[in-house]
Amino acid sequence: MMAQTDPTSDSNTNLFYHLRKNHVKEKVNLRLKDSTPGTRRPAENTAHRSSFLRFTDFTQKAQNTSLPDGSPLPNSPSSMVNQYRLEDDDEGKEDANTKDIFVTVDHPESQVTAIETFILYRVVTRTTRSDFDSSEYEVRRRYQDFVWLRSKLEEKHPTLIVHPLPEKFVMKGMVERFNDDFIETRRRALHRFLNKISEHPILSYSQHFQVFLTAQDLAPHRKQGPGFLSRMGETVRAVANSVRGLRSRPEEFAVMQEYVDDFSNKMCCMDKVSQRIIKEQREYVDDLKQYSPTYARWGELEEELTEPLKGVASCVVQCSKEAEEHIQHLSEVLVPALHEYVLCAETLKAVMRRRDNIQAEFEAKNEALLTRKAEQEALQEEVDVLADRMEQANNSLKGDWVRWQHSMKTDLRSAFISAAEKNVEYYEKCLAVWESFLVSQRAEAGGGQEDVA
């Protein structure tokens, strides 16, 4: 099933191609063998769909001149992609029509006080909801405020999946805290965070969320609520419970836990691979750029050849520009999306832990109920409360899990597609650059060249 490289063979180098083909096949096959059994889906499930896209069919039929379904290669691949995207967008529009709250994060501004310097972001809310006094709000918030909001949400709903915030300032790469790129990346992530909350069926109705969006001064609100000490108490309890250990995890949550661990691994890998790709592409472009001054220099040496040489030099310059744009897009769209889901994976792990703790607490009390004969009534009450709490926690998680999975798929799919589309665009543009060079050469030669489709 592994793909064969298409031999644009030429008879003289056939021996060589024979060698090369085998060489490639071997390498690819080796990789297949290395992957552990069971990491690939069984063939039966994929048969009817993958047959549509099996590469071997593709090469046999089309030889790079048509798509798998036999239709000819479009002149503009972007137009073809757009076609599919339009069909897809129709689904998304439904959700957009039912949305009744819109939040944006923008206009980061530096704020200097005697003690510290920090960035304030503008948060604008537009809503038709009745529980909001007004339909439009504009407030200024700093990163700490977002952190406060998130911790409140998690406190109130320990087993709901609350979207993660961008990380606190990370030393990696020696990025300055007030570097423009860093601020912009963070702003985008904060914007996504608030939008994720506002799209959540439960979290978007949270009192804290409303306060965050509407209060001109958040400070008085931040002082309320369970204080530091009570949070400490919770943590101690949680640790104690985890020491006791869980009796047993219900099947569905065991599956969930396994998924979360695997998912976390995959996301980390993806993140790393994407960053590596960007790095390699940057190095490629840097070296590619060196072609053009050399071709230009050569052009100056020559007479008849000056014009084509300068043409090639200019082609290379243009292609490098396109490549840089492509890389820029990757780092603005794909990398942040993947990174976000790396953080999501951590969130999921925390949610699973909290759920486990709730279960552990219940089990502990339940055990006490069974062993201690005195205080039966009081204990029974407590056990009931905890049982309720556990059931609610489990149900919340189950419900939110489905929603989260769907959201994850949409987000990641769209990020990959966007990256791939940009990639196609890059090649389209390069192609156009070289084609216009060919046209100019043919014009020069006065039709002496071969016709190229």
């Binding site: 644009t8 180098t13 998924y259 040489l309």
Partner: protein, 443 residues
């Protein structure tokens, strides 16, 4: 919805068909290098052949091929075992109308024998720009290619380069008539004879022909520019290779990820497969680029040949100037002897001053000897002058021919480079498109 486009056979776009009656049939229906999907459209060999075949008498009679390469082991001149590669030269009489293709005459030659032939040509036709041989050792490698002379990829590219060399010589109006060249192609035992190395000593030329000076400078600069291009190319190839291979990692992670997802799984797995294919496609892409690099390399080596001719001119010019200078000196001496004045210091002059004048008989005989010497000197100068003029005329003839050839070849090389880039873009975005489709369809 999707517009129709003309189908493009990548082979045709890369190697535009060039008609050549003697080679066409053979190359299109070649049995030895069968590829069932090639049916029609030119190949590299046909392109090369058509490009070079200018209808010299030799090529009207014969078809020349370097068909295969083989490894041999044997004892060398110092009686040690060594492994080397030999190449099969195939000579066929050119096809006549209605005739069946005859069986080829074949013989095996190794690289060093080609070198000997070329050195012979260099010495015998000093005013001609002798076509270069492919690299002796792998230079300008990027990491994927080994620097090993026995590496099959290197051997293959060398084979093509050797065939190119033979075709270039065979299509040269002067070189193709050389008897030794013919023997090289047909006789099993090549006659080894001692060959003179051209002088590499530094010497000053007083009145260099400006055209040759300019040519030498051009040749040096061209050498430098092409070397730099090839170096950059090696680096860029390395980088591009890295980019593609990392995409292979994507493929692996996609596939692993597909195993844990219920809904997205199919799409991810398909995308993963295509990612792998995309990653593997770099080998082909870089291989096609190799052809362009080889074309550049040929002209890089040509610059050495051009330089040789310039140096040979300098040598001849130098000899002429020496002869002229020698003659002038002798004339001066005669004048001094006749008039008795000493303008140039000479030992004879000094001794006669110290030890007294010579006798009239001695003076007469010395004058006569000088007169003789001057006569001979004038003959020499005349000869050298003629030699020089002849050389310049013949050389410049070949140089014009070379310039035309170079302009045409390199222009075509640049065009086919552009065509290759286009074909590569199309190929690659096909892969990506399919990946996108996977994502859309399986959601």
């Amino acid at each position: 919805m999707i517009t129709e486009t003309k189908s493009t056979d990548p082979k045709q776009t890369i190697f535009p068909a060039v008609n050549c009656a003697c080679a066409e049939n053979r190359h299109q229906s070649t049995a030895s290098s069968a590829d069932s999907s090639s049916g029609g459209g030119s190949t590299l060999a046909a392109y090369n052949h058509g490009r070079l075949c200018k209808g010299t008498a030799l090529l009207r009679k014969l078809e020349i091929n370097v068909a295969e390469a083989e490894k041999r082991t044997g004892k060398n001149t110092v009686n040690m075992q060594e492994t080397y590669t030999v190449y099969l030269i195939e000579i066929r009489p050119a096809e006549t109308e209605g005739g069946t293709p005859a069986a080829p005459d074949t013989l095996w030659r190794r690289y060093s024998e080609f070198e000997l032939l070329r050195t012979y040509l260099l010495v015998t036709y000093p005013y001609i720009i002798i076509p270069p041989l492919p690299e002796k050792r792998a230079e300008f490698v990027w990491h994927k290619l080994s620097a090993d002379n026995l590496d099959p990829d290197f051997v293959e590219r060398r084979r093509v380069g050797l065939e190119n060399f033979l075709l270039r010589v065979a299509s040269h109006p002067v070189l193709s008539n050389d008897k030794i060249f013919f023997l090289f192609l047909t006789e099993h035992f090549f006659v080894y004879f001692a060959v003179l190395k051209s002088l590499s000593a530094m010497f000053r030329v007083k009145n260099p022909d400006k055209r040759f000076t300019a040519l030498k400078q051009y040749s040096d600069e061209l050498n430098s520019v092409i070397s730099q291009l090839l170096r950059i190319r090696a680096r860029v190839a390395d980088r591009l290779y890295g980019v593609y291979k990392v995409h292979g990692n994507y493929g692996r992670v996609f596939s692993e990820w597909s195993a844990i997802e219920k809904e997205m799984g199919d799409g991810l797995q398909s995308a993963g497969h295509h990612m792998d294919t995309y990653a593997a496609s770099i080998d082909d892409i870089l291989e096609e680029e190799e052809h362009f690099a080889d074309q550049l390399k040929e002209y890089l080596f040509y610059t050495d040949a051009v330089r040789s001719v310039c140096r040979k001119h300098e040598l001849i010019q130098y000899e002429l100037e020496m002869a002229a200078q020698d003659l002038a000196q002798k004339k001066q001496q005669k004048e001094e002897l006749a008039t008795g004045t000493v303008r140039i210091f000479s030992l004879k002059g000094m001794t006669s001053k110290l030890f007294g004048q010579e006798s009239p008989e001695q003076k007469e005989s010395r004058l006569a000897a000088l007169e003789q010497s001057i006569q001979e000197g004038e003959e020499t100068v005349k000869e050298k002058n003629t030699e020089c003029q002849e050389f310049v005329r013949a050389a410049w003839d070949d140089i014009e021919h070379f310039k035309e050839q170079k302009d045409k070849d390199l222009r075509e090389a640049l065009i086919s480079y552009a065509i290759m880039q286009i074909s590569m873009c199309k190929k690659v975005w096909t892969f990506i498109l399919v990946c996108i489709l996977c994502m859309y369809i399986n959601s």
